[in-house]
């Protein structure tokens, strides 16, 4: 049983907070909700510290806790899917010649039009550096599934960015 000395446990958790925030922001699109999720993750990790196997990767364990909490909350409150509080809004009146300015150049907005599973795969593999195998274990799917989701996500992003896809400001974020 791993009890851990408090200073070591706190230091170990603190070191992973930036990465957890990055993951959460990609899942929720809502920065405030993302930090709520991270805080919840830290508390769960602390209180269940004896369940962590020190021979495994702490980061993966923490990401699993956060992911499971997110999915659990998603089932309870479908409103979580749509986080528009920090969504950049286009100007209220735009001359026709400036409509091109509303095209899809905002990477974050493009990213959040992707289905949840594609966003998750891209964050884990593309942003956080997990291997396909590690990301697959975290998500409970086969490595080939993660690879497929990441590739489809990249293809959709590349297509939107190349074509300058225009989205209305109230475009919902599908999950």
């Amino acid at each position: 049983m791993n009890t851990g000395k408090p200073p070591d446990r706190a230091a170990a958790l603190t070191a992973h907070i930036p990465a957890l925030r990055g993951f959460a922001k990609g899942l929720t699109r809502d920065a405030s909700l993302a930090d709520d999720m991270v805080q919840d993750t830290l508390e769960k990790a602390w209180r269940n510290w004896d369940q962590f196997d020190p021979d495994t990767e702490l980061r993966a364990w923490l990401f699993t806790i956060l992911r499971n909490s997110f999915l659990s909350n998603l089932r309870k409150d479908r409103r979580i899917r749509v986080g528009t509080e920090d969504l950049p809004q286009p100007p209220l009146s735009v001359a026709p010649e400036h409509e091109a300015a509303l095209t899809m150049r905002d990477f974050q907005r493009a990213f959040h039009t992707l289905p949840l599973h594609q966003r998750e795969a891209l964050i884990l593999v593309g942003a956080q550096g997990f291997s396909y195998d590690a990301a697959a274990r975290l998500c409970g799917v086969a490595p080939g599934t993660i690879k497929s989701r990441a590739n489809r996500g990249r293809q959709r992003l590349a297509r939107m960015m190349a074509e300058g896809t225009q989205l209305p400001a109230d475009t919902p974020f599908p999950t």
């Binding site: 706190a10 925030r21 930090d35 942003a127 990249r154």
Partner: protein, 53 residues
Amino acid sequence: MEINKNNSDLNALIEDNLKRFFQGNIDEPLPPRFLDLLDQLQQEFDADEKAGE
């Protein structure tokens, strides 16, 4: 930023932005809420340890 439609440029741009937005910035100061929480949990842990003595 002018987006070059070349595939390798787009792919590089995508990978750069994934890291930029979702990797987590270790140089960004942490909001106090996280460290406050860990302090609180540590105090509870210390109190439980002491109570068990």
